[in-house]
């Protein structure tokens, strides 16, 4: 068993992943179903599941890293193993979302005309597109959370705050550049992307995930416990 897989298994032991994670989806689905009679669009509740991934990525650092290092794991392996767990969970969860989407289609929205797993534009294509897009999105969020966890571990609340402010500045700067260059990525009509399909967007998110992965790695390299 490679060290990465061992680290992934070690992180998987935490109850918030192995016990709680499978229940987030049924819970948010139940809430969506309860409100379905008022609105058939319940896809917003699916967001909970995605955000939970970011939170879990964040929480894998704080206490797991010190014990991991105490057991002779290097930071590099801890990081790679944790990212690997994120990838595995994202692939499995993406598959589950894809299967549930197929069922939702076949049963006309669970008999309620509900749109929970069919997210307009993003998760509304063939099964492989749904799987790929959701898995890439979940992984990106996991890695994003992971990076925040590392930043918090090293520099505490103030450091995390500075990190978030820096991100906001990057986003604002990017926005200014895009608008001044008249790079209209999204058309004003219908929110669909001009020249960017859902799969194209998935590619962008995948590239972003790679960047986040590199950032987290650079941050954990000198972490002291």
């Amino acid at each position: 068993m490679s060290t990465w897989v061992k680290v992934a298994r070690y992180n998987l032991l935490r109850p918030s992943i192995c016990l709680l994670l499978p229940w987030i989806l049924p819970f948010s689905f139940a809430v969506g179903a309860l409100t379905a009679r008022h609105s058939h669009e319940a896809t917003g509740y699916l967001l909970t599941f995605f955000l939970y991934f970011a939170v879990q990525g964040m929480q894998t650092v704080g206490r797991s890293l010190p014990f991991g290092l105490a057991l002779g794991v290097s930071r590099r392996s801890f990081y790679a193993g944790t990212a690997l767990l994120g990838l595995a969970l994202a692939l499995v969860s993406g598959l589950v979302l894809t299967a549930l989407q197929a069922i939702e289609r076949a049963t006309d929205g669970w008999g309620l005309s509900m749109h929970f797993f069919r997210v307009p534009y993003l998760l509304n294509g063939p099964w492989y597109a749904t799987w790929l897009t959701s898995a890439v999105g979940l992984l990106a969020l996991w890695v994003y959370g992971l990076w925040h966890g590392i930043v918090y571990f090293r520099w505490g609340t103030l450091g995390t705050l500075a990190f978030i402010v820096a991100q906001a500045l990057v986003v604002v700067a990017g926005g200014v550049i895009f608008t001044s260059e008249h790079w209209h990525v999204f058309s004003s009509a219908g929110g669909s992307a001009v020249g960017l399909t859902a799969l194209g967007l998935t590619g962008v998110v995948a590239a972003l995930a790679v960047l986040l992965l590199a950032g987290g790695h650079a941050t954990i390299r000198r972490a002291a416990v």
């Binding site: 060290t3 070690y10 032991l13 935490r14 918030s16 105490a70 057991l71 002291a224």
Partner: protein, 313 residues
């Protein structure tokens, strides 16, 4: 004897104070040089804040040196898994994730090639650790017991213990010493044990390293230290006659009686002279010697074979 740990010119500074433009640097370790032979049990002693934990963290690759060289099993330990998987570090303030005792032991077994499950269960039983109990719910003593169990069952070539038995009662501590010695005899390894309970652990030590304010103030074989200092007490004149011209630590006098600590081994002639003069000779315990060393009282002792590094600020 091969060297398991060698440290040269090791300095670790932390930023202290709040000045952003002119941050003050505080040295937790200041030009530390030491070597630890393979297959020995060495005591790492010193006061709180002396730098023991920082040194152990650097040896375990958990912290990075500011300068100097650190080699464990022949290579720098930081991020070096060839070294790290042969090393275990049990620290007093170990943080654990949200897992159960049994899971913590299972995880440890994955990472250590020489892990002994039978020993781990036996130790857990001895210490009354229940596998199903959440680590977060353990008392301080039980947490220490878990650390000790991992540290011993890992059978790592280099085993670092930092105050491993905080909160453990005397019976459990004795259990730790006994188990450590028994397993060490069967599977020799390099053990570096930091502790404040010096006299209690003294019998374990082959070597002793004392750190004070980030510097090594004493690095010697325990055998040499045991006979190295003797309290001589009795009539003033007889005491003075015996210690005249020889290094001493402290001198107390009450009326016609005096008491002096002599810091060199006594010869047979000295003992005979002391006996006939009615002087009382009491060897200083390791703890008393360490207290003196940490207080900066230890002068180089000629002929005693000390590898003492005398440092002064």
């Amino acid at each position: 004897m091969t060297t398991a740990i060698s440290v040269a010119g090791l300095t670790k500074s932390y930023r202290s104070g709040s000045g952003l433009l002119h941050p003050a640097e505080e040295a937790a370790l200041d030009d530390v040089n030491l070597t630890v032979g393979a297959g020995t049990i060495t005591g790492l002693l010193g006061r709180n804040g002396a730098g023991k934990t920082t040194l152990l963290r650097i040896l375990a690759g958990q912290e990075f040196p500011s300068s100097g060289s650190v080699r464990v099993l022949g290579a720098p330990p930081a991020e070096n898994e060839d070294v790290l998987r042969r090393l275990v570090f049990v620290r007093e303030d170990q943080a654990y994730p949200e897992i159960k005792v049994g899971q913590a032991l299972r995880v440890a077994s994955w990472f250590y090639p020489n892990w002994d499950s039978a020993l781990a269960s036996a130790l857990a039983d001895d210490f009354g650790l229940r596998a199903g109990k959440a680590v977060q719910r353990l008392s301080r003593g039980q947490r220490s017991a878990l650390g000790i169990t991992i540290g011993l069952a890992a059978r790592a070539e280099v085993t670092l213990f930092d105050e491993p038995y905080a909160g453990l009662d005397a019976v459990a501590r004795q259990l730790f010493y006994d188990r450590l010695l028994a397993d060490f005899a069967e599977f020799p390894r390099t053990v570096l044990l930091s502790t404040h309970l010096i006299d209690e652990a003294a019998a374990l030590f082959e070597g002793v390293i004392v750190i004070d304010r980030g510097r090594v103030v004493l690095d010697a074989a325990a055998d040499v230290l045991r006979g190295a200092a003797t309290r001589v007490s009795g009539p003033c004149l007889a005491v003075d006659a015996l210690v005249a011209g020889r290094p001493v630590w402290e001198r107390r006098q009450l009326g016609s009686q005096a008491s002096v600590v002599m810091i060199e081994p006594l010869s047979a002639g000295d003992r005979e002279q002391a006996r006939s003069a009615g002087l009382d000779l009491t060897p200083l315990s390791l703890q008393q010697i360490v207290v003196q060393a940490a207080a900066g009282m230890l002068a180089p002792v000629p002929g005693a074979g000390f590898a003492t590094e005398r440092t002064s600020a």
